[in-house]
Symmetry: C2
Subunit: 210 residues, 2 copies
């Protein structure tokens, strides 16, 4: 504590906070732009314009385009707890969580578009998000497989279906519903379709919670 009487010395945190806010604004804008045009076609120019700064200013915070994409994906994974909350191995909780995710996605078409375009683009081995999506699907399958294993132990999984098969089908269903929903939002109800899908594969009742 010195003579200036200000409890905070030189407001260093203010500086950092502003930087953090700027970076957050950039990531928001980047998510919007990549969601609308995909990664390859979305431009840094557009991102910079939306956030109200120059391209050079933007590139001070993220050295290049792939780095910006990586930051967008990382933040999304940290923000949404969809997968971590399901790691418990409780089949009912996980499946209900997936339906909840579908419901939540129905109110943010921008994010859905981002993932549809990006996951298709990232199919190419040289795409900067390729490894991200490879890992993401492996993780997703193993989490959902555990859920179905739990239900199988309770004899609630349809005979002739392995937990891995059910997991693959579940992720496929969720992905496929997204494209169809984006094209015809009036016809497709992602959460309802997913619930119906689950009731065909396992003995589960969604009447209670979601």
């Amino acid at each position: 504590m010195d003579a200036t009487a200000k409890p905070r010395k030189r407001e260093p945190r203010g500086e950092y906070a502003k930087t953090r806010a700027t970076r957050a604004a950039i990531l928001d804008a980047a998510l919007d732009v990549f969601a609308e045009s995909g990664y390859r076609s979305g431009s840094l120019r557009e991102v910079a314009q939306r956030v109200g700064m120059s391209e050079a200013g933007l590139l001070h915070h993220f050295p290049n385009k792939p780095a910006l994409l990586a930051a967008v994906l990382d933040r999304r994974d940290h923000h949404s707890l969809e997968w971590t909350r399901m790691t418990e191995g409780n089949g009912d909780v996980t499946l209900r969580g997936l339906v909840e995710t579908a419901t939540r996605n129905s109110s943010s078409p921008g994010v859905v578009e981002l993932y549809c375009i990006l996951s298709a683009e990232a199919t190419a081995a040289d795409h900067p998000a390729h490894e991200y999506f490879v890992r993401r699907y492996e993780l997703g399958r193993s989490n959902v497989r555990r859920a179905f294993e739990d239900l199988e132990r309770q004899n609630r999984l349809m005979p002739g279906i392995t937990p891995l098969n059910a997991a693959i089908a579940t992720l496929a269903m969720m992905d496929g519903l997204q494209v169809q929903w984006l094209l015809h939002r009036d016809v497709v109800d992602m959460a309802a379709e997913l619930r119906r899908f689950f009731t065909a594969f396992v003995n589960i009742d969604f009447a209670s919670s979601p």
Copy 2:
């Protein structure tokens, strides 16, 4: 017959045949390029290079980029009879046909990539292929719905599922399997997963044909 001894006069058909062959070569190359990079990122330059001609030469055959894309999609729809063969309204035939389609697709990842990226891109209303995909999914749903209506009449559809729901789920499953298959071809067997999916929803036996 004249002094030149050539039975064909002036080879006029040769000219036309060459044009047709050139156009076909362009469409093949365009399919490859769009499949690898999508429509927005795939360039006419790359297409022209693969087919061994200049951009201007290419643009003589197709006036602009959207026209080239439309030609690629049109040809694919004419070549593959997947939908028309299913229009009969016979549920078993249609569902078997879909499994066949999945099997066939497993041997042409290029085409699968084209449709994954393109259908995601074309979600945007201003994409040149938007209307194409809107119509394609409407048509697909109505064809597959008819198939499930046929099975419903025979009491072979799972109770609580409408034919439309089943159709939406079927298209979603096929789409979703494609992305996952492109990322992990060793883990995902599209045709097998689709068969399992059908047996969960309807009373059908795939032991006989495909």
